[in-house]
Symmetry: C2
Subunit: 121 residues, 2 copies
């Protein structure tokens, strides 16, 4: 299964999910699956979140409580769940605010190891 197929799989399984991406800290997605009717500027979001994730990583490193594993940020309309894959890449799930957060987190965790292996090949 390709990156995109796996991302699509996650988006289809989670109620309220609107997209999923694998991307680097440089803000450039490796691959993505975004539902066609989504009005969000995903490119802007990717760039902004990449910058933010670098800042979060820096903070986490300062506090020395283990490496960054998962970040979630909820706003009035959107929930973004992020799972670190390795030093270079992370997995992002975008969902509407009342989407199935629990299942989304679970599927990111479950798929993270597969994506990690795929990224090493």
């Amino acid at each position: 299964m390709s990156f995109r197929e796996r991302l699509k799989n996650i988006v289809e399984q989670v109620d309220g999910a609107i997209g999923a991406l694998i991307m680097g800290y440089d803000g450039i997605p490796i691959d993505e699956c975004i539902l066609p009717d989504v009005s969000l500027d995903v490119q802007l979001l990717a760039v902004e979140y990449a910058t933010l994730l670098k800042e979060i990583k820096r903070t986490v490193d300062v506090l020395k409580t283990g490496g960054m594993e998962e970040v979630s940020i909820s706003t009035g309309e959107l929930r973004v769940v992020i799972r670190a894959l390795n030093e270079e890449f992370f997995l992002v799930l975008l969902m509407v605010k009342d989407g199935n957060f629990g299942l989304g987190r679970y599927l990111l965790r479950l798929n993270a190891s597969v994506f990690r292996e795929m990224l090493q090949d």
Copy 2:
């Protein structure tokens, strides 16, 4: 009930919780309840997270998907859950990594409106 009593209440109810704080974006806590055997440098954590939260707020504002409501950051050893109270203050719950994340989030949400009212008095 005082700020501290309410914070203590949250910490005592959540399995794996090690502390809770109300703090401002300037990194200075209004009040806190930290379990006595916690080795974490809470003051450093408060300062670092305040800086980070400002950065997250900026990103969220750029993306225009509603105001910041909840942030959670999980590392190898620690889970930090944050709920925005108003433009000045936020509520922080610190827990060990396998603490009861769901209950922690729920209690922060439940108590946020009470803290908001207390902060206005």
